[in-house]
């Protein structure tokens, strides 16, 4: 079994508030994990801490990614090692060309891997191919990063970037929120096409809806900063039908 990520007893605070309170998670290559939970349970915090965002104070626990201490690495160093975060709110960067950013990103990773940089022609070929899969037209690519994009376009752009960068571990933070059903299908297809035995996904989501299109291997319920229940696809359906309360009550009684 190829272990990609081990999170052990992770405790994280923001300011005075403790958000993650001893979280455990094991992710192997080839798996899709869904992390569900009510608002404020710490789902986005987990995604941000894994990607290396500033401002989170890790007070206990460890995170190992492909044998390395992930928490010691800068955000870009994590990216070079194949960790990708699909943002819940992708930011606009005026004047910075979408494709130029991606080319710089891809070549930074190539450089880390000791591979030659991708030349412009080869790069553009890949861009066209991946953009086609996401049903994005060329004008979309020539625009500045996320500038003037609709909510759905921004999310499609995230998956497009993921497809181009080909990460080993993709964390998608509420990628389904704000999407209409057509956009949701496009996004889900983008993810499904990339599934293979070398790559793992962590889908952070509030709703079961996304899981109709992307079949997870595991569903974890996060509450009060811990994984309180782990199951298969069926768990997501139960949550959809019954809400979170029964899981939380059960966890509280244990």
């Amino acid at each position: 079994m190829n272990r990609l990520l081990s999170v052990n007893g992770l405790r994280v605070s923001v300011g005075e508030a403790e958000i993650l309170r001893g979280l455990d998670l094991e992710v192997n290559a080839g798996e899709v994990h869904a992390i569900m939970g009510p608002n404020g349970s710490g789902k986005s915090t987990l995604a941000h801490v894994l990607a290396g965002r500033d401002g989170y104070d890790v007070t206990a626990g460890s995170v190992t990614y492909r044998g390395e201490d992930l928490l010691e690495l800068a955000p870009e160093e994590r990216a070079w090692r194949g960790l990708f975060l699909g943002f819940q709110y992708p930011v606009e960067i005026p004047g910075v060309n979408n494709v130029a950013l991606l080319k710089a990103a891809l070549n930074a990773r190539k450089k880390y891997q000791g591979e030659p940089e991708v030349d412009s022609i080869e790069f553009l070929k890949r861009v066209r191919e991946k953009a086609g899969l996401m049903e994005m037209d060329d004008s979309f690519l020539q625009r500045a990063v996320n500038e003037g994009f609709s909510g759905g376009e921004k999310k499609r752009n995230e998956i497009f970037q993921m497809a181009l960068l080909e990460p080993e571990l993709a964390i998608l933070d509420e990628t389904d929120s704000g999407l209409d059903i057509d956009a949701l299908k496009i996004v889900a297809n983008g993810v499904n096409r990339m599934r293979n035995d070398q790559r793992a996904f962590i889908l952070v989501t509030h709703y079961q809806r996304l899981l109709d299109y992307i079949q997870p291997d595991f569903v974890h319920v996060l509450a009060r900063g811990q994984v309180v229940k782990t199951g298969d696809k069926g768990l997501a359906l139960d949550l959809e039908a019954q809400g979170y309360d029964w899981v939380l009550d059960k966890a509280a009684n244990q």
């Binding site: 290396g52 401002g55 690495l73 800068a74 870009e76 950013l101 991606l102 990103a105 990063v145």
Partner: protein, 493 residues
Amino acid sequence: MSQPDQLQHPQGEQSNKDMRALVEREYKHGFFTEIESDTVPPGLNEDVIRMISEKKGEPDFLLQWRLKAYRYWQTLKTPDWAKLNLTPIDYQSISYYSAPKRRTDGPKSLDEVDPKLLETYEKLGIPLHERAALAGVAVDAVFDSVSVTTTFKDKLADAGVIFSSFSEAAREHPELVEQYLGTVVPYRDNFFAALNSAVFTDGSFVYIPKGVRCPMELSTYFRINEAKTGQFERTLIVADEGSHVSYLEGCTAPMRDENQLHAAVVELVALRDAQIKYSTVQNWYPGDEEGRGGIYNFVTKRGDCREDNAKISWTQVEAGSAITWKYPSCVLRGANTVGEFYSVAVTNNLQQADTGTKMIHIGPNSRSTIVSKGISAGRAQQSYRGLVKMMPSAAQARNYTQCDSLLMGNQCGAHTFPYMEIKNASAIVEHEATTSKIGDDQLFYCRQRGLSEEDAVNMIVNGFCKEVFRELPMEFAVEAQNLLNVSLEGAVG
């Protein structure tokens, strides 16, 4: 790195600390050239002015003009309306003339120029040997108070273009100088213009004859070298009917603890159907991180679209100087005239800049565009100050102004002072302004994709400035971008 060692809010202090580290920078042109120079003792009086005029072998009208300007200047007080904090300047402690010593009266060719001077310009990336020079760019190199040499003069002369130092023009083409000098910026214009008119030493003179498209980019490189001197350059560009010219100036100075004064005047005259494109990459020494030293840059730049269909375009990248006080402006006198102002100003540490433009619409259907991008970091303060004036005669005139400020960290300031005077009801004036912080969100987004923090900042800042950079002549767009990268280079947190 990812594990903050103290409790903090996600948008909090850690990132501000990173920002501060990011904007620390090194000034790469701060060296001093050891060269024997002929520097007059500090002090300003009519004898000093007579001496400057004599050293330059000027015609009498010029001396008389200088003296009138000096007498007028003595009646003036330093203007204090700009949002600048500066120690008063003691005008008697400045030396008003400094020139590298020469063996002969003036170098006839590059072979007679002191090799140390050539080396200085080489080091600044401005080779003066024509074979090594940037193809397609003629350079006038001004060192303290004098022009060292002007390249490609013969080639330009073939096209009828006059490109020389101002001093030489005053001797060789006094009629042109007399006809146009002070017609755009009269010596009574303002305090610094009056001072400059009295004591100006060198600068460039350009005349493009009727119908000629200048075959090369023209460029002047200003270098302050000697301590306790002021540089007072005067540039005059005249584009006769139907002619075109693109001109660029660059500026650097050694690092010193005391401030040095640079008070320049630039006058542009565009006659019927003529076009002048004037670009500046200003990188005077900005002072250190504690605000010690640096150049006080008080500049009056104005272009006159004197006849119909003339066009003047200012593009500036202002990265240096402790204090910048500068408003390149256009007087749109003729019908259908066009004025443009594209500006990127970067201030950090304790730099201050009060800069902008004035667009004076007199001619009917005159049009102007103002795009100003301000980047403030460290504890710097920056102001955009602009005037759009529509005179009663300016029927159907239009202006579009866009003013964007980017803040890095939370100790700097950006201020906008737009003035509008509309005296013609058919004129249309638009103004847009934004202020944003270089987002932690934007930085994190780029870094998550794999860019280093420094690359991410450069990419974001260059994106912000894109609309201005694309107005620069191609050779200099790259230089400007690199300059910005250097300006924001530093230890990454």
